[in-house]
Amino acid sequence: MSRILVLVPFALDEQGLANRKSQLAEAGVRSDIEYDFRPVKAGPSSFQSPHDWLLLDVAIFEAGLDAERDGYDGVVIDTASDSGVDALRSVLDIPVLGPGKASLLFALTLGKSFGVLAQWEPGLARMRKSLADWGLAAHCAGVEHFDTEPDFAGLIGDKRDEVFPKMEAAALRLVEGGADVVCLGSTTMHEAHGHLSERLSVPVVNPGPLSYKLMEMLLAAGLTHSRSAYPRPLVAKEELVHAMLDGAASDS
């Protein structure tokens, strides 16, 4: 039995975690692999400014730092921003995967270009930064948002009737703009995947469930990230990282 740790980027309660865990059913995960969902101890309340991005990097880094010692075989991050992935890869030998870059690369095996569905206008800055950081801006046919404030705990929930049509319209704009594949820009959009994939003429990539299957693939093939791309620190300061997040949690 392999064990995968899924790091959830907000300090959610049980119901919030359950909304995230429901992505497992959409992925058809292997029955011989166990998934544990762990929220960060503290973090930003939004995700639209470099202030938020940095806090999330640190929070996810801390939440996954001990994964190997805790007996996990792999770590998946439940945010398509891939926050914390690089730092975790630098200290862990087990595979660490973020759904963002991986889902865009996977999309390029299905078509020549992808389009990204973003949540709302304030989320575009991070999306553009990610595309540039990952060197994938030239493969992106467009980014369209559906003008809806994200709810990181409740997700779409009972707002489907209002939100799904707006998502569909934005996704159609991506297809009309030349996207061969539509990528959901956030794991919080997973509830809309079935609705959109039934209505669009192109594949719709659901980053969270895809990341679980890709992690299963890495484990089955005995693969992990390259140490030369993610070198170790000279001195790992794990206690310091834990202390910072304990401090943050006691403040909130």
């Binding site: 959409e26 992925a27 058809g28 995960v29 292997r30 995967l97 870059k101 991986a102 690369l105 996977f106 390029l108 095996t109 299905l110 078509g111 020549k112 270009s113 060197g135 030239a138 493969h139 297809v175 061969d180 594949v181 994939s197 003429s201 192109v202 594949p203 990539v205 659901n206 469930p209 895809l210 299957k213 890709l214 299963e216 693939m217 484990l219 089955a220 093939a221 005995g222 693969l223 992990t224 990230h225 390259s226 140490r227 030369s228 791309a229």
Partner: protein, 260 residues
């Protein structure tokens, strides 16, 4: 067969005797495939002698298209091509709605999930054009740190048999050059026929080594689990598919080969 069994057709790009096909099928032992995945290997009816010129590429494309184009009506859930050249994939995707996996593209994109740049380790310099073609199509030339070969003409039917002692250390040296001189974070094996070298290299190199054949099987399983397939806008259907004509072409080709 349980309801969730996934039947994957693996098309091998050369006409083969059963024992040669079995050597290709050994690839599936190199990864932990889910029990629900069933692989069925089938060779093409005719093929070029190797993949070193545009003459060969076009013959490979049509041979693979013919061997896989009825996979959907035969009840397969996905098609894998047993060549890193991705020959025939675009044509098959235009005819099939089930996933058709391109091992070359898939390997390069997976490499970029694990490192910044990858290197391609090949048997033969005359195969370089195949990798360059795929990299151009992906617009990912700048992510390839280098392509190196040991410049030995490979045996696509008997693979490494009897040559392990000379071939494996040379592949190791070339892989080290990819890593140390070219800056590759990940080493990609340049042919599914190199699968017998994978374990040797993986155990000796400081970076991940990708084995394209088995990786394509796992990718097919991933796509089926998620209900994904290739994009129709990237691979449009023909107005008039001509499967009978294609079959007749390959039957005639096989007859010419038999008489030769």
């Amino acid at each position: 067969m349980t309801q969730s069994t996934r039947r994957i057709l693996v098309v091998v790009p050369f006409p083969m005797e059963p024992d040669q096909l079995a050597k290709r099928a050994e690839q599936q032992e190199e990864v932990l495939l889910p029990e629900t995945v069933e692989l069925h290997y089938r060779s093409t009816q005719a093929a070029p002698s190797n993949y070193v010129s545009a003459h060969d590429y076009v013959l490979a494309d049509i041979g693979l298209m013919e061997a896989g184009m009825r996979a959907e009506e035969e009840g397969f859930d996905a098609v894998c091509i047993d060549t890193v050249s991705d020959s025939g994939v675009a044509a098959l995707r235009s005819m099939l709605t089930i996933p058709v996996i391109a091992p070359g593209k898939t390997m390069f994109m997976t490499a970029l999930m694990l490192g910044r740049r990858f290197g391609v380790l090949s048997m033969w310099e005359r195969w370089f054009g195949l990798y360059e073609r795929t990299l151009r199509e992906l617009a990912m030339e700048d992510r390839c740190a280098g392509i190196r070969s040991i410049d030995i003409q490979p045996d696509s039917k008997n693979l490494f048999e009897g040559k392990e002692e000379t071939v494996l250390p040379r592949l190791h040296d070339a892989a080290l050059q990819l890593i140390e001189e070219d800056g590759a974070d990940v080493v990609c094996l340049g042919s599914t026929t190199m699968h017998q070298a994978h374990a040797y290299l993986r155990d000796r190199l400081p970076v991940p080594v990708l084995n394209p054949g088995p990786l394509s099987y796992l990718t097919a399983d991933t796509m089926l689990a998620l209900g994904l397939t290739h994009s129709r806008t990237a691979y449009p259907e023909p107005l008039v598919p001509k499967p009978e004509m294609i079959s007749a072409m390959l039957s005639a080709a096989a007859e010419v080969e038999r008489l030769a």
